[in-house]
């Protein structure tokens, strides 16, 4: 865990690679191509990049038309605008028509930092997860993000890939392949399951290290595919450990924590704790400060696990 890279860096680079390989990818962005890195595709393949200006609804609609004609459009912008501002376009035009638009917005979550609550999207997983046909991926590192983008490019239908602004440790090797609907076991354990996605995977691994010093053997799952959701896999881990902490850089309502609660409720009821943003908006600050402020650190996860262990039968 030495090198740090932002998951957003994967977007432009992977699109260029895909275009090099002959995949018919195009990018549609809304005046944020430098931040989202789709500018890399624009530079390498100017004819495969379209800027709509500051018009996110039009971004989704234009991408939908490109998809109708068989192109593989990726859309940029920030997560807050791509999902919130253009929700009806995503619902009624992309998903209702089942079009292969790949939403890959960046700057999701509080790790956006100083831009503050208006730009820190904490409800996007919830919004995207309820749409029929939408696949929702939350890659944990740069390698996983590249794999997620590749998977979306060659799989028909709509995708939502949640990318971040801040650098996160690269935890996967180049042989990593994204498996739709499968969580990845990063650490096997027997006392508690830490189910995390995105930047919280790093925190969950650190929490597991801390718990290990106390003799608590935590299982760590990278739940990068929120939809389709690996419900049976989560339930199997829960049956083994008897307690689950869901960890996400998102509202505790509607995201990974909710998906885990739904799975456990139906398949394997065990004590559950949800580590996430507790139904409030974000605020300005540096990413690390905000992770502490909102209770999303490894310490917070470890504490939640310790509390859960007391509740275990």
């Amino acid at each position: 865990m030495s090198e740090k890279r932002a998951t957003r860096e994967a977007l432009g680079e992977t699109l260029v690679e895909l275009a090099n390989e002959g995949v018919d990818v195009v990018a549609v962005d809304a005046d944020l191509s430098g931040s989202t890195t789709t500018a890399k595709l624009a530079k390498a393949y100017p004819d495969r990049f379209f800027n709509v200006g500051i018009a996110e609804q039009n971004m989704i609609g234009t991408a939908a038309g490109l998809a109708v004609e068989g192109k593989v459009p990726f859309t940029g912008s920030f997560a807050v605008f791509a999902t919130g501002r253009a929700y009806d376009q995503v619902r009624n035009t992309v998903c209702y028509s089942n079009l292969g638009v790949k939403l890959a917005p960046t700057h999701a979550g509080i790790t956006v930092g100083p831009d503050g609550g208006s730009h820190q999207m904490l409800e996007d997983i919830a919004l995207m997860r309820v749409l029929p046909g939408m696949r929702v991926l939350v890659p944990a590192d740069y390698v996983a993000a590249k794999a997620a983008i590749r998977l979306a490019a060659v799989t028909p239908g709509p995708f939502y890939i949640r990318l971040g602004r801040a650098g996160v440790p690269v935890i996967y090797g180049d042989d990593y392949a994204f498996e739709l609907g499968r969580a990845r076991v990063l650490r096997e354990g027997v006392h508690v399951t830490l189910a995390a996605c995105g930047v919280m995977v790093e925190q969950a691994l650190a929490a597991a290290e801390a718990l290990a010093l106390e003799g608590v053997n935590a299982e760590v799952l990278d739940v990068s595919t929120i939809k389709p959701f690996p419900a049976e896999q989560i339930a199997a881990s829960a049956r083994k450990t008897g307690a689950v902490v869901a960890c996400e850089e998102h509202s505790v309502i509607g995201g990974l924590g909710s998906a885990v609660a739904e799975a456990l409720g139906e398949l394997a009821p065990v004590p559950l704790a949800r580590v996430g943003v507790r139904d409030v908006f974000g605020t300005s600050g540096e990413p690390a400060e905000l992770m502490a402020h909102f209770g999303l650190t490894a310490d917070d996860i470890a504490n939640a696990a310790r509390e859960l262990l007391k509740r275990k039968k």
Binding site: T62, A67, V68, T93
Partner: protein
């Protein structure tokens, strides 16, 4: 076929489509007759005089594309598709019923000949632009025709898309506005004044053609002539009458979204049958 004969044939198609629009909405017991009837001559002109298409090959790559941005006018599209032979006329009586290919608003996953699902207003032109971009990338000569309602031009996305088409020089897309002047709550100008639709489109960088939306000869001309300037998209603003062809529906916003009762249906169909028999003019 002479020009006059072509015009007469299209008028006859439009007359049959109007009859079927009222018939299918009456059978369904709900739907949007006003804006379907106002667009009948436009859609008939497109499908039977302007667009290259083949009902036996709905996926033919070089077909011209049609996007019904005002998706609530689905019945006019369904009537045209049935008339063209995309599916049997007997499907029309299943409109809006469980299991039908003819949903309350067009669904591209259920019905052949529909390029993309629409119904949430203001979105069609952006989709049409994306299709036109892709066609241009692929050097495909097909064109994309997008029919908008005037009321839906209150949606901001329409103007985002209007800017986009001009900026990206999409002269293979055509916007057609069914300008009937009415929306659900009343006259467009009293609900939310549109100002001059033609002037606004002109200001957004489009070549604008204003035409009487029930004059097939003029429609054919406006819909077929190439852009005056290469790279400048064309908008046809067609002035129409909402509910056209049914005396008691014409110009009445109340007929935006309701089905006629049995008595009204009898009267409406009698009027439309007369137009049919009278050679439609």
């Amino acid at each position: 076929m002479t020009d006059a004969a072509q015009v007469a044939a299209i008028e006859a198609r439009a007359a049959r489509m109007r009859y079927e629009i009222v018939e299918m909405i009456a059978e369904a017991g709900s739907g949007h007759p006003g804006g379907s009837l106002s667009a009948a001559d436009i859609v008939a002109s497109l499908y039977f005089g302007v667009m290259k298409h083949d009902p036996l090959r709905p996926d033919w790559e070089e077909r011209d594309r049609f996007v019904l941005s005002k998706g609530h006018a689905g019945p006019v599209l369904y009537a045209a598709l049935a008339e063209a032979g995309y599916f049997g006329h007997d499907n029309l009586k299943t409109l809006r019923k469980l299991g039908s290919i003819l949903q309350g608003h067009p669904d591209s996953n259920k019905c052949a000949g529909i390029e993309v699902s629409t119904g949430s207003l203001g979105q069609g032109l952006a989709i049409a632009n994306g299709m036109a971009l892709a066609l241009r990338m692929d050097a495909n000569p097909a064109r994309v025709f997008c029919l908008l309602g005037d009321g839906e031009m209150q949606e901001g996305e329409v103007w985002e898309a209007a800017m986009f088409a001009a900026h990206h020089k999409l002269d293979n897309v055509m916007a057609i506005v069914d300008h009937n002047g009415l929306q659900i709550d009343g006259a467009c100008d009293s609900v939310m004044c549109l100002g001059g639709v033609a002037e606004k489109l002109d200001a957004f960088g489009w070549e604008v053609r204003e035409v009487g939306g029930h004059d097939v000869e003029d429609l054919l001309k406006a819909l077929t002539e190439p852009p005056m300037t290469e790279g400048v998209p064309v908008a046809v603003v067609a002035y129409t009458i909402k509910g056209k062809g049914v005396s008691f529906m014409e110009g009445d916003a109340g007929w935006h979204g309701k089905a006629p009762d049995a008595e009204q249906t009898t009267l409406a169909l009698a009027q439309l049958a007369e137009a049919l028999e009278g050679g439609a003019r």
